[in-house]
């Protein structure tokens, strides 16, 4: 594992100057069992890029929380047809959802915060899916998160979801791109997009937890707006962990 970690660090330095397409090409070349996480939003650019690079190797999954907008379901289907690919739609554990809803109702996140619901509806199925792959690709970008989340690497060793005694590599090819760059790519390449974006939605998640944002608002303000932004406390300060 040590050697792998050192490689990942070195690779991040090497890949961070490269374009998302070059990073995706590298990822597809290195891993046979690799999947793209597609949320039904602007991360569709990952599918478009991967499809242009190597259509045979495009493996995509989406987390269906059961609470997505109808528009998002339509968009996932549109993407499936447009690119002629399979999309593995993964679902939360019915027993866990059933227990939560029976005990707390269908909108407990407005009262108790969104994390319990997200952990059951997103993290559980995500973990199950990631146990089946060697690497995954996300559309996470640095500009999506205000405050301390400004150091998303383009490649990382994913310790949280790795199989026991194994490694899982996570690629974030869009880490260094801005929202504007993503949309420039979508428009100039005629990439299909979720119709909610035309109605003021920047970030798109579950229907009860997503709203359109106004001019000047950060996209994070369109998600879980009833909760206060909290600072991540247990990160080790990056200045001090770097040599």
């Amino acid at each position: 594992m040590t050697a792998n970690l050192l490689n990942t660090l070195d690779l991040d330095r090497e890949l961070s100057d490269q374009s998302p397409q070059e990073i995706i090409a590298y990822a597809l070349e290195q891993f046979d069992n690799i999947a793209i996480s597609f949320s039904g939003a602007e991360d569709v650019v990952l599918i478009d890029m991967a499809h242009r690079i190597n259509p045979e190797k495009v493996q995509v999954f989406s987390l269906d929380t059961g609470r997505l907008h109808a528009e998002t379901y339509r968009f996932i289907e549109k993407v499936r047809e447009h690119y002629g690919i399979q999309i593995d739609v993964v679902f939360p554990d019915a027993y866990a959802v059933n227990n939560m809803v029976r005990e707390k109702g269908l909108f407990s996140f407005y009262r108790d915060g969104h994390k319990e619901c997200c952990s059951i509806r997103k993290i559980g199925p995500l973990r199950r899916k990631l146990l089946t792959v060697d690497a995954w690709i996300t559309g996470q970008r640095r500009d999506q998160s205000p405050g301390t989340r400004t150091a998303i690497p383009v490649i990382q060793d994913d310790k949280a979801f790795a199989r026991p005694d194994d490694t899982l590599t996570k690629f974030n090819p869009l880490a260094n791109w801005s929202s504007n760059q993503v949309w420039e790519y979508i428009r100039s390449n005629n990439v299909p997009y979720n119709e909610l974006h035309d109605r003021g939605y920047i970030s798109i998640g579950c229907e009860p937890c997503t709203r359109a944002t106004g001019p000047g608002q950060h996209e994070r303000e369109g998600r879980w707006w009833w909760e206060e932004a909290t600072m991540k406390e247990c990160g080790l300060h990056s200045v001090n962990t770097q040599k």
Partner: protein, 111 residues
């Protein structure tokens, strides 16, 4: 097998909240006796033993566990419940594991 627990001391000198929480859980479950060494990653001191280990293994979260087995590469665990299940071979509740993962990786809810 040697197990090292690394806890973080914040810039104000206090123990990080999750480190406190994990320590309490471990004491309640009588797991501290299974830990061979406890090191501090002091954010005020880049040369503190825990910070040195964090750099060596590219770890950016605390607390974390280093599990060393003879003849094998060290394994790093940043998720407490994963460590409990896979190394200590004790039962955990899935909902606790999932909540911990999300708390440690707040951007995952953005997927």
């Amino acid at each position: 097998m040697k197990i090292t627990l690394v806890k973080k001391i914040k810039l104000d000198g206090s123990l990080c909240r999750k480190c406190e929480d994990v320590q309490q859980k471990m004491e309640a479950a009588d797991q501290m006796s299974l830990i061979d060494e406890v090191l501090l990653a002091d954010e005020r001191d880049a040369s503190s033993p825990g910070m040195v280990l964090a750099r060596r293994y590219n770890v950016d979260q605390a607390p974390f566990f280093v599990v060393e087995r003879e003849g094998l590469q060290p394994e790093i665990y940043t998720v407490y419940f994963k460590f409990v299940k896979e190394v200590l071979n004790q039962k955990t509740r899935e909902e606790d594991e999932l909540k911990e993962i999300l708390n440690d990786n707040p951007d995952l809810d953005f997927l």
